[in-house]
C-alpha cells in the first residue's frame, strides 16, 4: 500500500516537474510547480515528517507560489520574443546544461545519496511527534545554524524593505495617520439655523378657508 502511494506521488512529482519546463504558458508552468510541491509534501508525509510536509505546503504552496503567480499573471510574456535566439544559443545552452547536470549529479547523485548508503528508516511508535523531535534538534544541537539562518532572513527583510522605501517627493500618496486621526469636527460643520414658520403653507391654508 505504502509503496503504491509512494510511486503514485513520485510519478506525479516527476511528471509535473517535467511539465514545468516544457509547458508554454508561464502561468500553467507555475501551477505545475505547485503540483510538484504538493507531491513532494506527500512523499515527506510517507517518511513520517509531517511537520516538514505541512510547512512545505504552507510556505511554498500557500505563500511563495501565490506571489509568484501574482507576478507571472501581471507580466505580459511574449513567447515569440523569448524563442528568437533559441537555435543560435543552443550549443552553448547544451554545454551549460550538461555542466550543471554533472555538478548536481556529483553532489547529490547515487554515490552520496544512493539507497546502499542508508539503512531502511525504522518505523516510529504511534506517539512519535515529528514536531517535538525537530524542535529538540533545532534549539539544542543546531541552535547556532538556526540563529544564523534567522539573521540572514532578517537581513533579507531589511534589504527588501530598503529597496522599496526610497523617497519619492513628487508622488502623491495618502497619509494614513492623518486620515485615522481625523475628527468629525474637521470635516463636518454643523450650522445652526433658527426655525421659522413656513410662510407659504400658512398663506395657502388661509386661501383655502
Amino acid at each position: 500500500m505504502e509503496t503504491i502511494v509512494f510511486y503514485v506521488f513520485s510519478a506525479f512529482m516527476i511528471l509535473s516537474a517535467l511539465m514545468v519546463i516544457t509547458v508554454h504558458n508561464p502561468v500553467r508552468a507555475a501551477f505545475f510547480l505547485v503540483l510538484t510541491f504538493f507531491s513532494s509534501a506527500a512523499v515527506w508525509l510517507l517518511l513520517e515528517a509531517e511537520f516538514l510536509a505541512i510547512i512545505l505546503i504552507i510556505v511554498y504552496v500557500g505563500a511563495v507560489m501565490v506571489l509568484f503567480l501574482f507576478v507571472v499573471m501581471m507580466l505580459d510574456v511574449n513567447l515569440a520574443e523569448l524563442k528568437k535566439g533559441f537555435v543560435k544559443n543552443l550549443p552553448l545552452a547544451v554545454i551549460v546544461a550538461l555542466a550543471m547536470f554533472a555538478m548536481i549529479f556529483m553532489v547529490v547523485g547515487g554515490e552520496q545519496f544512493g539507497v546502499q548508503n542508508f539503512a531502511v528508516p525504522e518505523r516510529h511508535a504511534a506517539d512519535y511527534s515529528n514536531v517535538s523531535a525537530l524542535g529538540q534538534l533545532l534549539y539544542t544541537e543546531y541552535v547556532y545554524s538556526f540563529e544564523i539562518a534567522a539573521v540572514i532572513l532578517l537581513v533579507g527583510i531589511v534589504a527588501a524593505i530598503s529597496l522599496t522605501l526610497r523617497r519619492r517627493p513628487n508622488t502623491r500618496h495618502q497619509k494614513v495617520e492623518d486620515q485615522v486621526a481625523v475628527k468629525g469636527a474637521d470635516r463636518l460643520r454643523v450650522v445652526k439655523v433658527e426655525s421659522q414658520p413656513r410662510k407659504h403653507t400658512i398663506d395657502n391654508a388661509e386661501v383655502k378657508k
Binding site: V27, F31, V34, E50, F51, I54, I55, I57, I58, V61, G62, A63, V66, L67, L69, F70, M73, M74, S129, N130, V131, Q174, V176
Partner: protein
Amino acid sequence: MVDLILSIYEIPIINILVKIIAILVPLLLTVAYFTYFERKIIGYMQVRIGPNRVGPRGWLQPIADAMKLMFKEIIFPSGANKILFTIAPTLTIATALAAWAVIPFGAEMVLADLNVALLYILAMTSVGVYGVILAGWSSNSKYAIMSTLRTAAQVVSYEIAMGFALVGVVMAARSLNIGDIVAGQSGSIWGWYMWPLLPLFVIYFISGVAETNRAPFDVAEGESEIVAGFHVEYSGILFAIFFLAEYANMILISIMAALLFMGGWLSPFQGVEFLGLGSSFLAGSSIVWLLSKTAIFMFLFLWFRATFPRYRYDQIMRLGWKVFIPITIVWIYVIGIMYYAELAPWFIKG
C-alpha cells in the same frame, strides 16, 4: 442483523467513510440554513422581513435556492480554459471540506487525530486561495483577474497575522493537537485561552473574517467596483460550489475560534461554586457547548456584514501589516513572560 451491521462497520474504510458522512451531512445542512439565517438576520437588522415565501416562514428557501442553482446552465465564457475553469471550484470546496477532517467535536470524537492539526488547517486554508486564483485566471475576464489579485494579496497578508495568533495558542498549550489545546483550557471559565490571549483572540477572528473574504473585507467580491469578483463568470452548480465553500470556511473559522480560545466542548459552568452549578449536569463537557459557542461566532459574521461598510483596499493592507502583525509579535513576548512567571491557571508547568 445488528451484528452484521456492526461487523461491516468494523472494516476500516467503511468506518472512516461513515465518519466522513457523519461530519459532512450536518455540515452541508448547516451551510444551507446558515444562508437562510444570514438573509433573515440581516433582514431583521435592516427592518425587513427576509425570505418568507417558500415553505412555512421561508424554511424551504435554501432548498429551493440549491435546486435552482443545480438545474441552471453552466456557461463557459469564450476564451476560458475549460479544464481549469471546472477545477477551480472543485479545489475550493475540496480544501474547505478537507480541513474538517481534523476538527474534534468532543474529547474522543475526531476523525483524524493529527499531531500537527493546527498547521494542517492553516495549510488547507492557504491552499484554498488557489481556487480563487484559478477561477479568476481561467475566466478570461478583467473583473475576475482583478479580484484574483486582490484576494491573493489579502489572504497571504492575513495568513501571517492569523499564524502568529495561533503561535500564541500553541505556546500556551504546548501542543499542536487541537484535543490537547482544549484539554489545556479545562478547570473553569477563567481557564479559557481567550483571557490571557485576548488580543490574539480578537486578531484571530478578524483575520478569519478577512481570510474568508467576508464583509467588511470583501473586496474580492466588491460588487460596487468589480461586479462579483472572481466568480463573476460562474453560473449554476459551479457558482453554488464557491458559495458552499465560502460558508463552510466561515463555519470552520467559527468552530476553530471556539476550540482554541473558548474551551471547545468544555462547559462554562465548570468549577462554579454558585448554586452548585459546578456539580450539576450543566458542568459536563458536551458537543452542545461547542456548537453553541460556534453559533456565537457565526452570528458575528452576519452581524459584521450588516453593520460595517467595506474597507478601502489600502486600509485592509495597513490593518493587516502595520497593526495586527506588530501586536501579535509583541503579545508573543508577553506570553513568554507569562510562561516564565507561571501565571495561574494557564501557564502552570506540567
